[in-house]
Amino acid sequence: MKIKGRVWVLTDKSGNLINDIDTDMIFHNRYLAITDINEMGKYALDNLEGWEDFSSKAKKGDIIIAGENFGSGSSRQQAVDCFKALGIALIIAKSFGAIYKRNAINSALPVLEANDVEILRAQSGDVIEVYTETGLIKNLNNGSEVSARPFSTVQKDILDAGGLLEFAKKIKE
């Protein structure tokens, strides 16, 4: 699968990738009572300094690039679903919190780990191409390339099915 899209690089004021973005920064606990996925998008990242207006800027098909340990903290599913609601096509991070990664895969949000993502020299607004089978990521604005860990078979199967519980229907048939 090839994913092409405009990127949002989650950097701080000095332009460095932000590490340890936790689930309260992604989807704050004051919104936890919200259960309708369509309502969740507008709160995505609204507790991350400098990114409070993310939901109004993001468009369907956009890609997020983040630092280490993205999605650490609680197990709340909303921290994944808020990006699905916005139509985010892919999240690339240097690494993910374990539960976040599990939740993202289970709900069919594509996630990729690219430890050397800085090599892309990507700026918000650049367009990148990602080949999920090989893990190759290309920055179309400056031609630089980096390898991520490709999707595992499991991740691809769940993604193709549209989520873990949809996948269960397939393997029983």
Partner: protein
């Protein structure tokens, strides 16, 4: 290349290539849900697969009601009964509110066994590493999937080998002190996303209840699971309850590849205590002696075994609970409760002024017993002291012996000095 314990267990339960970092499909021998999480598992099964949904294998699927047992609120009663009705229609056995903590019931009844795979909605299910089984707590979507398919996906973790050096501890120092001391060395991220294997003379000497204590707190070290290679006694137990002479331990290869090896010297192990508000905020008990104690809670999946409560009874048969202190004991299972009842230990606890409840999780899950009020200082034998976990008060984590001594003196007290002064040691 040799394999670690988790790699060998996984290889016996998958067709995928098992190596650290790979995500594999894992066959799950036993699938469970408790009264916390279980109702959402059932709701998800109905939502995705309809009212007539069947599970993959009812004979390997169980409910274990342990968090609020028996239900103390109407919503909990509704949730439990919702699961009961689902289970009854499908021939799924329910270990109901009289049974006790699910992970302990699994060990006693043989729902797990060395080398088996086991999932449920309890984040401390990795306790099963104490008998060399793979146990894992998961969210409701994952467990619904396991109920429906008998499988789960899992990223193979690398393994850290921990070797304890030095002479084994002896009373009044216990496995809980060793566990807290290990957490003190590793910190809350020391085993993040990794499996652990524990070795050393002290481990070889540990009985089941002590192994349970150590494995139960790998969660607090950030780990996936902590394995202890089962000894002959543990294998015999499972052969007997499973009526299966074939049960064997899964043992790591001599040339297994570990991410790192950590040696921990325990020659001078002293009673340990985890101060609020984090389990890894561990100190020697002596460093915090004198703080007034309002209540103690002895129980939980970490320290609710028969032998744990017997250790506390060693103190309570000599000294009474200080007036004004609440001492609460919650046996982990019905079997534990029965042994305490029949051999007179409950008598000792009663005479000393201890409150004993029916088996279950107790205060850890906002359950029936063990909650604290604002400003209350509690010594708890459980595994978490995060703010609000066991009520509004301040929770210190310690061994059953430390907790019992604190109940007697009404302040944080090192049992070694106390017992020496009283001529017991």
């Amino acid at each position: 290349m040799g394999k670690t314990i988790i790699e060998k267990i996984f290889e016996n339960h998958t067709e995928d290539e098992v190596k650290p970092g790979n995500i594999i499909w894992l066959d799950i021998d036993t699938r469970t849900a408790r009264d916390f999480g279980g109702p959402n598992v059932v709701k998800k099964l109905y939502e995705y697969y309809g009212e007539d949904v069947q599970v993959d294998d009812p004979s390997r699927t169980f409910f274990t009601f342990d968090t609020v047992a028996p239900a103390k609120t109407i919503p909990y009663a509704n949730n439990q009964h919702f699961c009961r009705q689902f289970a009854k229609k499908r021939g799924i056995k329910v270990f109901d509110v009289d049974s006790g903590i699910g992970s302990h019931v699994a060990i006693e009844k043989g729902l797990c066994w060395p080398g088996s795979t086991f999932v449920g909605t309890d984040s401390h299910l990795n306790i099963l590493g104490a008998v060399g089984a793979f146990g894992q707590g998961m969210g409701d979507a994952d467990i619904a999937f396991a109920f429906k398919t008998g499988k789960t996906w899992f990223e193979v973790p690398s393994t850290i080998k921990i070797i304890f050096k030095g002479k084994p501890y002896k009373f009044p120092v216990t496995a809980k002190d060793l566990t807290l001391f290990t957490l003190r060395q590793l910190g809350s991220k020391g085993a993040l996303g990794r499996a652990i294997e524990f070795y050393g003379e002290v481990i070889d000497n540990m009985s089941l209840f002590e192994r349970i204590t150590l494995s139960s707190m790998v969660t607090e070290m950030g780990g996936i699971i902590g394995f202890i290679t089962p000894d002959e006694k543990i294998i015999e137990h499972f052969k007997k309850v499973k009526n299966n002479p074939e049960i064997k331990p899964v043992i790591a290869d001599d040339d297994a590849e570990y991410e790192k090896v950590i040696e921990i010297d325990i020659s001078n192990l002293k009673p340990q205590i985890a101060c609020p508000p984090k389990p890894d905020n561990v100190k020697d008990v002596r460093e915090v002696e004198g703080i007034t104690v309002d209540s103690v809670f002895i129980g939980s999946c970490t320290n609710g075994r028969y032998e744990d409560i017997s250790l506390a009874a060693e103190i309570f048969k000599r000294f009474k609970v200080k007036e004004g202190v609440m001492a609460k004991v919650v046996p982990s299972t019905r079997e534990v409760f029965g042994r305490l009842l029949k051999d007179g230990t409950l008598d000792i606890l009663y005479e000393a002024g201890v409150i004993v409840s029916n088996p279950g999780c107790g205060g850890c899950a906002s359950g029936q017993i063990g909650m604290t009020g604002k400003g209350e200082v509690q010594i708890s034998t459980s595994n978490r002291n995060f703010k609000g976990k066991q009520g509004d008060g301040d929770t210190y984590l310690a061994s059953p012996v430390v907790a019992a001594v604190c109940a007697v003196t009404g302040e944080i007290t090192d049992p070694v000095e106390f017992l020496k002064q009283k001529g017991v040691l």
